[in-house]
């Protein structure tokens, strides 16, 4: 790890100021950023911790659904979202191990947009809104390919607002080593239709499976998608799963998510 300066603002305004300086980078739970720094693959001059800002912590219901502060650890979401949005809470409770869940945060995960991360599937399938100090970004506009998002340089997430579906489920198939998603599917049924988001599978990061959404919107059952096929063309192929295998899993897991949705 290289040397760096560390600041921990207590307000969003101070964080905005701190992050506007050259070489500054946001630090939330550090579960992704710190290992990268230890391996000397990242060397920010200043780390701006976002975990000391009260408005960026916690889970509460509000306008538009469930409001989750960006610096809320996975373990807190698992606990506090359970009564409101069980599928989301279950997703948070299935990330990593207890140490990761007690430090890693939703904001860090959504900002990082790892193609195998869990939260992006929930954000996209829920049609959530990503809130930053200056604007609100719809989930459909936010994810822009693996590790790439609509956030501008220095811009950071303060909150994510999740509309709460009638029924939803997240079914994750673990990559055997990392236990991130080898492929995972989040299905959410709203009064105006069903949204299906897939993570772990595509070279373009999290995506919506729109054919399945259409089929499920008229018949919310696993057999509604039995005739659909998923193209393997854009799927990730690596040691743990071929593109064809991932394409296959997308369909299997979608069916299971529909069956499991509550």
């Amino acid at each position: 790890m290289h040397n760096f300066d560390f600041v921990k603002p207590s307000s969003i305004a101070d964080a905005v100021a701190a992050l506007s300086s050259e070489g500054a980078q946001a630090l939330s739970g550090g579960q992704t950023l710190l290992p990268t720094m230890k391996q000397r693959l990242a060397a920010p001059d200043v780390l701006v911790s976002l975990t000391g800002i009260a408005e960026m912590q916690g889970v509460c219901t509000g306008e538009g659904g469930l409001h989750i502060g960006a610096a809320t650890p996975h373990a807190v979401v698992a606990r506090d979202a359970a009564a409101h949005y069980p599928a989301l809470a279950a997703l948070a409770g299935g990330i990593g191990d207890p140490a990761v869940r007690n430090r890693g945060t939703i904001g860090g995960s959504v900002a990082n947009n790892d193609p195998a991360a869990c939260y992006p599937a929930a954000v996209l399938a829920s049609g959530a809104t990503v809130v930053t100090p200056h604007r609100r970004i719809a989930a459909d506009d936010y994810f822009q390919g693996m590790f790439s998002t609509a956030l501008d340089e220095g811009e950071f997430i303060t909150q994510v607002i999740f509309p709460i579906p009638h029924k939803a489920a997240y079914v994750k198939f673990n990559q055997p080593a990392s236990r991130f998603a080898l492929t995972a599917v989040f299905v959410a049924q709203f009064s105006d239709g069903v949204r299906v988001a897939v993570t772990g599978a595509s070279n373009n990061g999290v995506f919506r499976w729109t054919e399945a959404e259409a089929a499920l919107s008229s018949d919310f059952s696993a057999k509604a998608i039995s005739d659909l096929t998923v193209a393997a063309d854009d799927m990730i192929s690596d040691l743990h799963g071929s593109a064809a295998y991932r394409a296959h899993l997308v369909k299997v897991l979608t069916g299971r998510a529909v069956t499991a949705a509550r």
């Binding site: 198939f173 080593a177 743990h240 295998y245």
Partner: protein, 792 residues
């Protein structure tokens, strides 16, 4: 009633208190005054010619004290292979020099070609990067795939070795023609090509070493993560550095697991000693996890074709194997013994097979060195045999249990001389098989299959009956087989004046539980409390000699040495008692901690004898020496032969290919069991590693020799939820006939017997589910591979 102390008691591991409360003292925990930090500079390419290393910029960096390159070690010796293997044509194996730091060429990703020593770790790390940037390495095509390595002579790991072959070994070469004839005549021949997947050892504690040099005396001290400090001392002194053996102390303090990878001497150990001498300061090095992946000796990595000739009824007539075994870029210390004498000699399994021939070609590649890893050669042999036997059952539609029974050696056949050079002393393989069948509730299996089916899962059962040779090893035998060392062990039993005991043992505990078990044996023999006995190990300055711990040898060999030393203590005690009790030595008996004059009530306790030995106010000094301390060296007469039967049940999700091990039963014969709790723990750990190999672990290099599985993001370690609750039994014991404790060794068993049981169970599940085109799936049997096999 189970005993609560002494031999056979489930005494809780005394060492766990310090391990579990963070009070162990590992090499990296030591902090020495004036210490400097070493960082190794490692190759990022698999194969390359070192064109130039410009050290100036690194040397000018803040805090940098010294830079070493291969040049600094080009005149010292090399790290040797411990076994000389001859090829089938009688020519000796090719033995390229393994330097402390790569010189001229780098031969695998992670091959260290330089080292930077600095005041702090961070400074050393910064300078190492600068040094790497100032090094020019001309990349050469990498030799990765073993088949290509032997086929393509143009591309050489070692310039002087034209075909990348270390040796081409036949076992037993004289039997080859007879085996070929038997195979030809066999009514049925099963053929199977399989891979024994390469594994990274992943000891919890990474390797670490601290070198010290004392200019006043010229003495050196090496504190290091070693399974056998005496062997390390021998290699450093006699082969690599030329330091007189009496001038180097090697200490292996608490060591956090080894699984074989810490048997060997590594270049970093020589480096920290050389650096300590040059700087006159202690120099320390601790591997980062990435370095462990890249530079610890890996395990397994065989590609094998096995043929098994049999009758239609399933009598095995002949076994023939052809194996390519990877040794990586350099010969690690046991690397030539592992695929040969720890593998080929086991190829008859626990069966009565008249004809066996094994061919092993050992291949250099641009990958990390490969050496013994828990089981070492024996898992490879067991996997080949047990997969082939399973395939035979399927091809001939025979019951796997019945086929085992037909072929297993029977108790009346011992001692049994195998066609591959071993003499099994004793065993009862039917008994462990019956026990496993009972404990695994084989008769209830069909009902469980139906229950799984209701949940959409395919259930399967896999069997493996296995044997190993351990208690390594009789020196007379291994000497004939090419070993350059003897494999005896030693112990000193020191009775202190107050009757407490220190046992200096050549075994080295790096998780096994010696500190608990060895005192149980002493307590039993001397009739004193376990708590009065302390084990001293891992320090060449304190213990007489030792070959360390590996090959399930600690109790069988070092424990036997201790037992012999205890006999000498008792004999000496009798002499002292005779003097104190004014009786003839021949009239003294020893039992329950008391020396008595036979037929009288005259007696002295062990404590009184000990005290008298050190307060010898009226000793007849011509005939009775003061003191009570004895040393024994023990060289085993034969290997020991633990054996057992393992039954695994899996559920396969045919839609995703995911395999769950839902039940695992291990019925083993380890001979006499000293501590059932520890034995059970060893089996749990071994089976866990076996399940890891079968389902999860894979070491993958790409065609350029880059390690794709260089971190836990891609290297799948088995976790708690990958393994079931085990059913473990070791009641079917046939005591070893040739060591005083009757013990056979249990450390490797689980890792040897379990992989074929798991894979056989997966194949069984698929066949029961109607997926009968799948004859084999290579390990690790990952979800993707199972799905591929089903849909392929």
């Amino acid at each position: 009633m189970p005993k609560d102390t002494g031999i056979g008691a489930s005494t809780k591991r005394r060492e766990d208190l310090r391990f579990l409360t963070g009070r162990g003292v590992y090499t990296d925990d030591l902090s020495l005054f004036g210490q400097a930090h070493a960082v190794m500079v490692r190759s990022s390419v698999a194969h390359g010619r070192i064109v130039s290393i410009d050290t100036a910029a690194a040397e000018a960096m803040p805090g940098v004290l010294a830079v070493f390159t291969g040049e600094d070690f080009k005149d010292v010796g090399g790290n040797p292979a411990g076994w000389l293997i001859n090829s089938r044509d009688g020519t000796p194996m090719r033995e390229p020099k393994r330097p402390v730091l790569a010189h001229g060429k780098v031969r695998h990703v992670g091959d260290a070609y330089a080292a930077v020593i600095a005041e702090t770790y961070a400074q050393a790390k910064d300078a190492a990067q600068v040094l790497a940037d100032a090094t020019v390495i001309e990349e050469l095509p990498a030799v990765v795939d073993m088949r290509a390595a032997v086929a393509n002579a143009a591309n050489r790991v070692h310039d002087e070795i034209p075909d990348n072959l270390c040796f081409d070994w036949g076992w037993i070469e004289d039997n080859r023609a007879a085996v070929d004839a038997a195979m030809k005549a066999a009514p049925h021949v099963v053929t199977l090509e399989l891979t024994n997947n390469r594994l990274v050892p992943n000891a919890m504690e990474p390797r670490a070493s601290i070198g010290e040099y004392f200019p006043g005396t010229g003495d050196y001290k090496l504190t290091t993560t070693s399974q056998n400090p005496h062997l390390t001392r021998l290699l450093v002194c006699a082969f690599v550095m030329g330091i007189p053996e009496n001038k180097l102390q090697v200490v292996a303090p608490d060591v956090g697991g080894g699984f074989g990878s810490k048997i060997y001497h590594y270049g970093e150990e020589a480096l920290v000693l050389a650096a300590a001498k040059r700087l006159g300061r202690p120099v320390r090095w601790t591997a980062e996890r990435t370095e462990s992946f890249l530079s610890d000796a890996h395990g397994r990595d065989h590609v094998t074709k096995i043929e098994l000739g049999c009758t239609k009824e399933g009598d095995i007539l002949a076994i023939r194997t052809e194996t390519l075994a990877n040794v990586g870029a350099y010969l690690s210390n046991f690397s030539t013994a592992t695929p040969t004498f720890l593998h080929g000699t086991l190829m008859a399994g626990p069966y009565k097979v008249p004809h066996v021939y094994v061919n092993v070609k050992t291949v250099f590649t641009n990958t990390a060195p490969v050496d013994a890893y828990r089981g070492a050669g024996r898992p490879e042999a067991t996997y080949s045999i047990e997969r082939a036997v399973d395939k035979m059952c399927r091809e001939l539609n025979l019951d796997p249990f019945e086929v085992r029974r037909r072929n297993l050696l029977t108790p009346d056949q011992f001692p049994y001389t195998t066609p591959v050079g071993l003499v099994y002393d004793t065993g009862n393989y039917q008994a462990t098989l019956d026990k496993a069948i009972e404990l695994a509730d084989v008769s209830g299996f069909e009902a469980r299959v139906a229950e799984s089916a209701k949940r959409g899962k395919l259930r399967g059962m896999g069997l493996s009956t296995w044997i190993e040779a351990c208690g390594i090893a009789p020196s007379h035998l291994v000497g004939v087989l090419g070993s350059r060392v003897g494999l005896y062990d030693a112990a000193t039993v020191r009775v202190n004046a107050t009757g407490t005991i220190s046992v200096m043992t050549g075994a080295h505990s790096h998780g096994q539980g010696h500190e608990t078990v060895f005192p149980q044996i002493v307590a039993e023999k001397l009739g004193i409390p376990e708590s009065s006995v302390e084990i001293v190990h891992g320090d060449t300055a304190k213990i007489p000699f030792g070959m360390g711990s590996y090959g399930s040898r600690s109790l069988a060999v070092a424990g036997s040495a201790m037992d012999r030393a205890l006999d000498k203590i008792i004999a000496k005690g009798k002499k002292i008692a005779a003097h104190m009790l004014e009786a003839a030595e021949g009239d003294i008996t020893f039992a329950d901690g008391k020396f008595s004059v036979a037929g009288t009530d005259k007696a002295k306790s062990f404590g009184e004898i000990a005290f008298s030995a050190y307060v010898p106010h009226n000793y007849p000094l011509e005939t009775l020496e003061p003191g009570l301390e004895e040393t024994a060296f023990y060289d085993p007469a034969n290997f020991t032969y633990p054996a057992g039967a393992y039954i695994c049940e899996v559920e396969v999700d045919a839609e995703t290919g995911k395999v769950d091990v839902v039940a695992f039963t291990a019925a083993d014969d380890f001979g006499n069991v000293m501590n059932p709790l520890i034995v059970e723990g060893q089996v749990h750990g071994g089976v866990g590693q076996g399940i890891g190999q079968a389902l999860c672990e894979n070491t993958s290099y790409d065609e350029n020799g880059q390690l794709l599985t260089g971190s836990y993001m891609d290297y799948a370690m088995p976790r708690a939820d990958d393994v079931p609750f085990y059913t473990v039994d070791h009641s079917c014991a046939t005591p070893c006939t040739h060591n005083p404790l009757g013990v056979k060794g249990c450390g490797e068993a689980g890792a040897i017997g379990s992989p074929p049981a798991v894979v056989n169970a997966v194949i069984d599940a698929l066949h029961r589910g109607g997926i009968t085109h799948v004859a084999h799936i290579d390990m690790p049997v990952s979800p993707n591979r199972v799905w591929q096999a089903i849909n392929g």
